[in-house]
Symmetry: C2
Subunit: 531 residues, 2 copies
């Protein structure tokens, strides 16, 4: 046997690792080799064979339902969709001036936003790694623009810290990083890491901490131009005479720790919220509309499903016209892809096995509230130099999301004035009439932007627990429920398969809905081809 | 005297601090109070009085020159501009298909980019805190879109680390943060911070390190779903059956330290590169063009200045037609705003005082090289899920900048294939003929993106030391030169004042050019109004 260097192509190496050590090791080796295969999505689905004459009834024209309909029709199936709303998209939804909707309890809101402005009450951002959704956007010509998750100049706000004054994210981030770097540099210099790191690594660590933590020549995070080069200046560099910058003063570590503002920093680092994120140009519902352009001819709108019955020959669904509840209609097909949210489905009559029924009943729905506020001008840009992104607060509104489009323009704009999820705050706002929710968002928001009081024009508030077509914003799985019920929820039961974000490991994300749908129809198609 | 609570408006408090403790303390208090005043720019300049009949000759139609011309004419001055190029904008420049230019040494390049594609060979990004530039963009209707500086999914690459395989920024960032968090958590738990932090603060610090560093329940940064939630998964969560994610394996701290990849992390944190950054929609030169729409009627193009002479009555500038070097023309005015780069100005005859002349001669110019490459498709998006942002490498090309527009589209695209600045690499590439520079960028880039070899179509390379109108990309001040010469450079000398990025504390930034210009014309106007 020769003893020369072994030359392997990366793919061969990975196959070898897969064969020897199993798929987990192979996937991990792929990551380590920088091999870009970190998605579940393997490109457009291929459903091979000839299912002509076989029919599928899809329940729900959200992204899961429309994905199923689009791909099943393309594969040769005869498809129809029943949809509760008078529009496609489901939670993929944008509200614009003139739109109105009625929530559970009877409150009707009409949106008064000016032309071109909108609120995405449901999903509002798309991570770069949501490959299936991005591929559908490409195939369906949905234009994308960046969604700013981290804006260094937006605010972090704790009601009982810093005299209630909001702090710039850049300052909190730089000070926290700088001060823990100083602590670790000190421990290193004092020999306290000698058991953990070699002397040589300690020396590099000191350089790294200095570079990354903005430490000075003595490895201290101190007031001066070095730290100001990260956290911002009291007076930044200028032009001409008197251009010299003035440094700002870092906040002490103890103040940051006790303020709790460090809690928000993870929102800028987590995989789900990393750059580059996207939003569709013009509103999230551009995606739903693009799907509807493809499959709109298959959709029966205003169809309120009341019963889903199957036998060994097919599925029959009873529904009424949502605008005329006394009507009783039926639709039948050989198979059914049901994307109805579990919050609704659990209340319908459906003859599935006990395990499936238990799974359908096992998932409570989260109750987010989103409130859009229109202002006379972009004061957050003009006065505060905040362009897009999110400010976080411990006030009930939790977040203020600035518009990620139309930057630097004059005139009116809409921001997300509150994004409450779970917990007492969301319930409390859900219980209020919509106008009180809007007034509350303005009142709380004014603690961060006093300009609210002068510039506010109108608002709209979507409390997802009161939205008739979902009764909640997304499936709220516990670990225990998932362990016990998830597979049962996803398995094909007779002639029925479920899909939607609730049938995914990506709850609340549109990618979860699409991947779930692709998985469901792949298995359904296999079953059909076998029978 | 009453002893009740003192109620002060913030502005009053700041005035008080300013009066008692001086302006530095006041500015620092402003920052601490979250008061948004962190810019030199105070809104549109107001030059009051009536200078009608008084003339100003502006040299150079870059941003500094055109700002001066726009504002001086508005104030009532009679203004003309001499510009060396046959276009306005100067270093505010974009290259598109059909454009050509000749560099020093005679090499002529013609750009072959497809319609709608461009390279910004000069400035390419605008920080949110460049308030003057942003205000001119607003006033001149220049549409902006985000420039992605940090893309977590772009690469960091060290030739001699990780077998030469590029690493995802997200993985390096998460692993570095996680591992230093683990080190500091360990030191804390072992009582090694007892002298520095109270026990209560130590407890909060542990929580903060766990949250921010993605530590597990034992305060360790370990392979698992927690760290994968930051660094990315080997196999991410999916939909339907078999949706469970597989964790990825962190890289050890010693490997990261020795790779040197930590050096790049500061590029995502520094004040100058923080979110939200911008670029003009359609190319950086949209700004220059918008200025030229305002002041284009004042510009004499192709005017190569050879001599600037002043006496106590005015300034006379001798120039030739750049397309006919034997011509000799003259322009005169009462005052002169000279924005000619010092690299050029130092070679011209100009009768200013010795201190000013010494200042003009004191500043060498940096020699950046930028190379634009057109590819058949956006393989970085399609294959690598990299949308915008920058990959960094220790190879001579230093950076690969992905286009921050047209995301997710099919068809051709242009990326920045090299951005070399200073040092041997830039000189080496500057010395090559343009086609070799392009070939070199393709060769080196293929180490990061092997797709280069199949997808490359054409390229263009701008070596700033060879660009006739600047002979370098920007003034490269040393601390010593600045201490000795900067004020002399900026002071009005007789009837001449200098402006441009070289006369600012923001070298190489367009904001420096504009702020410098506004400062120069403010002082010039004061002088005029006094005489």
């Amino acid at each position: 046997m020769q003893d020369g260097p072994l030359t392997l192509r990366r793919r061969d190496l990975l196959s070898l690792i897969g064969a020897v050590a199993g798929s987990a090791a192979m996937y991990q080796a792929m990551t380590a080799l920088g091999f870009a295969a970190e998605s579940r999505y393997r490109g457009p689905i291929r459903l091979e064979g000839d299912p002509r004459g076989i029919s599928v009834l899809v329940l729900g024209a959200g992204l899961a339902g429309m994905t199923a309909a689009l791909e099943l029709r393309k594969a040769g199936y005869s498809v129809q969709i029943l949809e509760f709303n008078d529009r496609a998209g489901g939670r993929n939804w944008s509200l614009r001036g003139g739109d109105s909707f009625v929530e559970l309890g009877g409150f009707k809101q009409t949106c008064d936003f000016a032309d071109g402005l909108y609120l995405n009450p449901g999903p509002w951002r798309i991570p770069y790694h949501h490959r299936a959704l991005l591929d559908y956007c490409k195939r369906l010509n949905v234009a994308l623009e960046p969604f700013i998750q981290l804006n260094h100049n937006a605010y972090l706000h704790a009601s009982r810290a810093f005299g209630g004054m909001p702090q710039r994210i850049r300052a909190v981030k730089a000070d926290f990083q700088g001060e823990i770097s100083e602590l670790l540099a000190k421990a290193t210099s004092q020999g306290k890491l000698d058991e953990t790191l070699s002397k040589q690594d300690q020396e590099i660590l000191l350089q790294a901490l200095r570079s990354w933590g903005a430490l000075d020549g003595d490895y201290r995070y101190s007031a001066g131009l070095i730290s100001s080069g990260y956290r911002g200046y009291a007076k930044p560099p200028g032009g001409g005479l008197a251009a010299v910058p003035l440094p700002s003063n870092p906040v002490g570590l103890s103040d940051i720790l006790n303020s709790g503002l460090w809690r928000y920093l993870r929102n800028f680092a987590e995989y789900n919220f990393q750059t580059t994120m996207f939003q569709p140009v013009g509103g999230m519902d551009m995606i739903g509309k693009a799907f509807a352009k493809e499959v709109g001819d298959l959709i029966h709108y205003n169809a309120k499903v009341t019963e889903i019955l199957q036998d060994d020959r097919g599925v029959t669904v009873t529904y009424s016209d949502a605008k005329n509840s006394k009507s009783t209609l039926q639709a039948s097909a050989d198979w059914c892809v049901c994307t109805i949210p579990l919050s609704i489905l659990s209340q319908l009559k459906i003859n599935v096995g006990a395990a499936k029924k238990a799974a359908i009943d096992a998932v409570p729905y989260a109750g987010a509230v989103k409130i859009g506020l229109q202002f006379k001008r972009r004061f957050w840009e003009e006065d505060d130099a905040i362009y897009g992104g999110i400010s976080y607060t411990d006030l009930p509104i939790r977040q203020i999301g600035y518009p990620n489009s139309g930057y630097n323009r004059t005139g009116r704009a809409v921001l997300l004035g509150a994004y409450l999820f779970d917990g007492a705050n969301a319930y409390e706002f859900t219980a209020m009439p919509p106008d009180e929710r809007v007034a509350g968002a303005v009142e709380f928001g004014a603690a961060i932007h006093p300009q609210y009081r002068r510039e506010f024009e109108n608002g709209i508030a979507v409390a997802w627990h009161r939205v008739p077509f979902t009764l909640g914003c997304s499936g709220d799985w516990t670990h225990e429920a998932r362990a016990q019920h998830y597979d049962n929820l996803c398995r094909i039961d007779g002639r029925i398969v479920l899909a939607g974000e609730h049938a995914s490991a990506l709850p609340a994300w549109q990618e979860g809905a699409i991947l779930s749908s692709l998985d469901a129809i792949t298995r359904l198609h296999e079953r059909v081809m076998k029978t």
